[in-house]
Symmetry: C2
Subunit: 199 residues, 2 copies
């Protein structure tokens, strides 16, 4: 299969997933969305599960490309840009329907190793980016010297995951959750100017 066909089918999977959710998703829905025959999808993928694993790999590539990488910028700005990307940027942080479908997929993880491995990859890449930003922030003194990067990154990944779940569960707005997390990051990481002068 050429790359264009693959991308077309995977984009159609995204649309079909938003519309039908994961449990109800069929290869036929994806074919309809791609404007192809069901047979042509079957020609490339023998099951919904196999197509879906490839779809998760495709999302992962896109996700890692969208996550701001650690560059020479100020760590505080970098961290806030990253939080914006995963929480409120409509390009990168997908809408409510997709987020809901992803929760459904998450509920499959304990029963499906291939899915769990993919979700663990999303989790790890986010953790590593956050940790690397914090490492630099502590080194250059923009973040508090007492911050342990791995511990702070673990908290941040957990609170980001919680924001995604609460957005679906209780319809809390992304903006509101984003502000909560920014305030958390500020109080947790940034050098407190008052105490800095006294230490």
């Amino acid at each position: 299969m050429d790359d264009d066909t693959a991308t077309e089918i995977l984009e159609a999977t995204y649309q079909a997933l938003c519309q039908h959710g994961y449990a109800d998703l069929t290869l036929e829905d994806i074919a309809t969305e791609a404007d192809r025959s069901k047979a042509s999808i079957h020609y490339y993928y023998d099951s919904k599960e196999n197509l879906f694993i490839e779809f998760l790999d495709f999302l992962y590539e896109r996700y890692t490309a969208q996550l701001p990488s650690v560059d020479g910028g100020a760590p505080r700005e970098q961290l806030f840009t990253l939080l914006e990307t995963v929480l409120i940027d409509e390009e990168a942080a997908p809408g409510q329907e997709f987020r809901t479908a992803l929760l459904e997929v998450t509920a499959q993880a304990p029963y499906n190793d291939a899915i769990q491995t993919r979700l663990a990859n999303f989790d790890s890449v986010l953790f590593e980016r956050v940790r690397d930003i914090i490492v630099v922030g502590v080194e250059i003194g923009e973040f508090n010297a007492t911050v342990e990067p791995a511990v702070a990154a673990e908290s941040l990944v957990t609170i980001i995951t919680g924001a995604h779940t609460r957005r679906v569960a209780v319809d809390r707005s992304s903006e509101h959750l984003y502000k909560t997390i920014i305030r958390y990051a500020e109080s947790q990481l940034l050098v407190d100017e008052l105490s800095e002068t006294t230490h």
Copy 2:
């Protein structure tokens, strides 16, 4: 229906849910688990959805009873007991299977108002308990005076929700997540002794 019968059916729903997940759950599964005929379950509940809403109300009653309430104890201890209850206490914080089924149910919330209302109740009661503990902690000076109880409680509820999701998604252990959140709460709330002496 007498209370014993109701409790028996709702307990059977819990077991059947852990075993089958939400999407695949049928009234028949619940009947089997309760050692009753499907007709007798149908006599009380006309659909899986109705039974399930009553089940969520039943869980909510149990959840609010298990959550430690705000008493005269030290706020720090109370908060840690509460975190233990919702994160690692095997009695109150249900196992992996149930947590997984709850994520499946969460993915229904945007399409089902009755479910979303129930999930919002779980979220609110946790938020209120956490906030009330923090209010007292700030008042008596055990927590930092700069802590805003509602903001800190919102962060904590979000990170707790994230811990529940990550436990399912990436199989992170409850113990590990509990420790992360305890460290988070300590750094976020507790009066830093060093800065206290200098302020």
